[in-house]
Subunit: 342 residues, 2 copies
DNA sequence: ACGGACTGTGCAAACGTTTTTACAACGAAT
DNA sequence: ATTCGTTGTAAAAACGTTTGCACAGTCCGT
């Protein structure tokens, strides 16, 4: 392995001089600099990053931390977009990115502590919207730089990036109401996620605003999986009184709902209209194409990484709570030609 | 920051002893071990990973290296599955995982060199199937542990994991032939990827085996994008003589083809049958559900990580070239009830 | 009582950097 | 001629670990 000393010896200078050449120290003569650089080139020298980190106390590395069952996330197609947003910023700023999952129960904290206390990374991007996430609690108390993608009701004051999910769900519901629907159901995600709660809340607010009845049997909780949508759909459609439209927590779930409806012979959007969230690339390729709230996934990752890096570098961070705008993409699944009333 | 020395002082032992406690050295008395461990617990000690790496010359870190325009990959939905396979193995074996992209042209090599020469990681998982990838060339010559997911015609001897894409395409084509098709087209990917070449080759071999004509105008090259499928489809369908079935390089592309065919009023599978590759979760949710070759994406990642870790740890590695079995998932898109003959 | 094997611990060097401090050489200003 | 600022370089300490070597103490067989 070629070290700074090898270069120094060959160039007839001291190691410190080589180090200064590498870091473009102002008080190095052009001659020395050229000579050293040439030798570095010849030997293919690259500084040992561990040694560098040890003394500089910075790793130039961020961690993307996925909480417990990451399985779900990997399957979910907006994950790639999110990564892309994060990596774009990180690379540009010279940071490497560690992809880590916090597994185990008490272990969960332990695996974060390893990163934090072991100075493994300079900052953490945490993907979570658990209502009360112990990892958030740990990080908040540890004073370690981190940003949350999502939100945590127990810690509203931390650095985080999220959508206005309540407003988004309001918009989605309002759109269905504008299409003439009066009986609207909601297929939700796990109740311990703020994203589920917020969207449910927005849905309810919209119904209230338009004085439409909120029927608890039309609200079904599930997971972020197709199966979940399928099941929720059959549950709702087996009721004596059925809704004419559904707001669905996630596109993948909506795919499950759609499959179920099609199997049962319902026509979308004519029998049942659909609006969902996240606007993954395939939503518009479903048949019919699914209306979906675009949450600016790339922006979410991009903004989070940017804020974190600012924080790490102790530049002033603008706001603790950043909101990425959403946008309703209206497609065929919510454009019924004839509405069935009450 | 709490270091090994702090623990040592409080426990009234030397730093070396603490180190030995941490690494479960056999010749430490139970008493000392307990005392030290308790103090570590109290202070929340975690060893500084950089210092550790510096002396041990191992980082316990792998890099997942995505070649040039990673954009495409992030959009492609089997990426998540692949990551999941890799992370499962890596975590279990105590490795962290760096997600890196090699950007720039000459920079491409430079960014890899930084990882390799700077001892940033212990090994690299390279995602690529470029016919002649300079990164593969660099890594092969550098003696650095790495595994290729995909294959590289210029370096057939390196450690790699791939499918038998030729056979897979043969199977797909044969399936269409068995359904009675005699005029079969092929929507391919970029010509500089071995995956495109292999699959094209398998397709041609199948046609030859059954003495069916190979028509070059029915073979269209494109990208791994929906748009690409859409364009390829309209190109092929504008010909005076049209195929009755298409083999498509990738599910996402097939979605584009399907959309195009539907728009033009063709019925799938009755007018045109489809088989594609990769079997992403949404293939079966298309309408009609798309027949697809499952390439064992999770297995691909899992096997690659496993092989790499073996290599890094200098355990004997079984074979240089590992082949993950594929499986044709037959769905409605290739099950035409009535076949139009030549 | 003695040599040896074994057990438990400490000392110090090493890993490859960065950075503070020091200092030599030089030109310019007094 | 002396002082002073500037420029370029070197020496050495520090970062937090691991680990080979040394050594004191204990236990055992003779």
């Amino acid at each position: 392995m070629v070290t700074i000393k090898d270069i120094a010896k060959l160039a007839g200078v001291s190691p410190s001089t080589v180090s200064r050449v590498v870091s473009n120290h102002p008080r190095i003569s052009l001659d020395t600099s050229r000579k050293v650089k040439q030798i570095m080139e010849e030997l293919g020298y690259h500084p040992n990053i561990m040694a560098k980190s040890l003394v500089s106390k910075t790793t130039q590395t961020l961690a993307i931390l996925l909480p417990r069952p990451a399985e779900e996330l990997f399957q979910n197609f907006f994950f790639g977009e999110l990564l892309r947003g994060i990596l774009t910023v990180a690379n540009r700023s010279g940071y490497d990115t560690l992809l880590t999952t916090a597994t185990g129960e008490h272990d969960e904290i332990e695996s974060v502590a390893r990163l934090v206390r072991g100075r493994r990374v300079d900052g953490i991007i945490l993907l979570s919207s658990r209502v009360n996430d112990p990892i958030v609690a740990y990080l908040a108390q540890s004073e370690f730089p981190f940003v949350l993608i999502g939100s945590c009701q127990a810690h509203p004051d931390i650095l985080s990036v999220d959508n206005d999910n309540t407003q988004a769900a309001f918009d989605a519901t309002q759109h269905l109401i504008a299409q003439g629907h009066e009986r609207i159901g909601f297929v939700s995600g796990p109740a311990n996620l703020t994203v589920s709660n917020d969207r449910l809340h927005g849905y309810q607010k919209a119904l209230e605003a338009y004085r439409l009845p909120i029927r608890s049997e039309w609200i079904v909780e599930g997971e972020f999986l197709q199966e979940s949508g399928y099941r929720a759909m059959s549950l709702i459609m087996s009721l004596p009184e059925r809704p004419t439209a559904l707001v669905v927590i996630d596109d993948v779930v909506a795919f499950g709902v759609l499959r179920g409806l099609t199997e049962l012979g319902y026509k979308v959007p004519d029998d049942i209209s659909l609006v969902s969230f996240n606007n993954i690339a395939l939503s518009e390729l479903a048949s019919p194409p699914i209306s979906s709230i675009d949450i600016g996934t790339y922006q979410l990752g991009y903004t989070a990484a940017q804020a974190l890096i600012r924080d790490v570098q102790e530049q002033p961070v603008q706001t603790a709570r950043m909101v990425i705008p959403h946008r309703l993409m209206i497609r065929e699944s919510s454009l019924s030609t004839m509405i069935k009333k009450g």
